[in-house]
Subunit: 322 residues, 2 copies
Amino acid sequence: MSFDLDSILANDRLAVARAISAVERGGEEARRALVALYPHTGRAHVVGVTGAPGSGKSTLVCRLAAWLRARGLSVGIVAVDPSSPFTGGALLGDRVRMQELSCDPGVFIRSMANRGSLGGLAETTVDAVAVLDAAGYQVILVETVGTGQAEVDVARAAHTIVVVVVPGMGDDIQAAKAGILEIADILVVNKADWENAERTIAEMNMTLQLGAPGAGWIPPVLPTVATQGTGVDEVAEAIGNHRQWLQESGGWEERQHRNARQRLLGAAQRRLYTLLVQRTDRERLEYLVQQVAERRIDPYAAADALLEMGGCPATGETEEPS
Amino acid sequence: MSFDLDSILANDRLAVARAISAVERGGEEARRALVALYPHTGRAHVVGVTGAPGSGKSTLVCRLAAWLRARGLSVGIVAVDPSSPFTGGALLGDRVRMQELSCDPGVFIRSMANRGSLGGLAETTVDAVAVLDAAGYQVILVETVGTGQAEVDVARAAHTIVVVVVPGMGDDIQAAKAGILEIADILVVNKADWENAERTIAEMNMTLQLGAPGAGWIPPVLPTVATQGTGVDEVAEAIGNHRQWLQESGGWEERQHRNARQRLLGAAQRRLYTLLVQRTDRERLEYLVQQVAERRIDPYAAADALLEMGGCPATGETEEPS
């Protein structure tokens, strides 16, 4: 058993790395680790940084980490983008900066493998954040590529969501990404030295003001040139302001509550599924799968049959009409 | 009730569009539609086309659709990439080609909104494919951006998976995408007129040969310049060859079986979850969420408490040690 609570709480790097690996593998060991760690979580400021591949979000994360370190804050970085420099694919400049960061005991960098079952990625990322939170990292930057649903869900689990876009790329694309813009607390227009940056900034301001819910937080639109560090101060300050606003407005508790609900219902769902699979007779399952494959029965009727057998009385008095 | 089985089976475009919308909304109406349609599915050749934004996969899909139409096959297109031209963001040339396609009654194009709950995207996409299958489309091209887990799952639900990469982009990135390469039945190196294309093709051939499972199908590596139509014939023929191989080797039934299992277990999981939420006392749920948010109880213990109450005896004799 490689799990050692005291070492994790003392931020022993090897213990932290092992705990995250356990979390990635999942199963009973992960569950035991998370049950033990859970009471020690809830202190870190979790910041999601999301954007398409090539938007420069990794460089921004790198710069933000350096900014926070310069102010004495410890920083965890969890990268979920398979093309992220933190995962291996890096421009040389990034790599040098990242090596500086990774030699700093106040920084812990971890990239998550983009694999596993549906929903598994979002779950294990949130769990990896919990490990870093328990280990005492004060700000945890979670880098995701904003194209997949799982990644949007990861971003939603953060207190503060930074969405990174680049100028141009077609207004159409930006519009199609309204789903991502909707969840932004801070919008960064990176590569703001490109020629059509002004227009993108104006458009983003308009989009976000249209969507701004009354007297709440209005997401600022901030230009950056992350490779040169331009505008990074403003982004870091906006992140701090957002945290303060969350704490003063009650939004912090609201987001903790939302995350708690997501974790609870997610755990319940996975538990139910595990129990279902455990209690199902293998032969009977194979028979049903074959019937579905041959179109003799639809998947929904087969699912009901499975639940009936599984020892879990799914078709009770609250059954919907079918 | 807007659902009309006979009109869908007769490929009435309005009825098909409405059924897909119902599927996107989910709930009881979607379920009723899919139960009715299910016996009429299983005939279409479902081809997943996946690749990063900017890899040119939309243009390739467009060209493949035209190739198939020229041979008298009806074609369904389901686009899951929010930045896809099919979703609105298009280069002018693409848009013209796409308008030609969309005026053709033998082509049905639908883009899926990249939203909804975790796993919802993969589910509704597979369901939209089922609608087009029942409506009689012979080949269904499913375009996904290959970065998110949900998209990989969508691709896995296809009979034939085409992965599109571009030359260069850093070997690191390509390596990180091994997860995507693993699932390729056909690998397309698009933009093969770029200078470093030869090397990428050689590398891809090596990677895929290493991973090739013995005497089975060896994924061909095919260069294309989709914007000019170069190499599209070869890709279309490889897709046809793969179908034939599947049918001769028993792989077709195997994939139908795998999809049936995924659909059955997925339906069972969602059913369980719905029942759990229905049977749970709201106040009690809120209480538990609050306890989790305050770190008084961990999500796993809370989930067990929820299942206990929900009328579903989750903690039976097969309970794991905790």
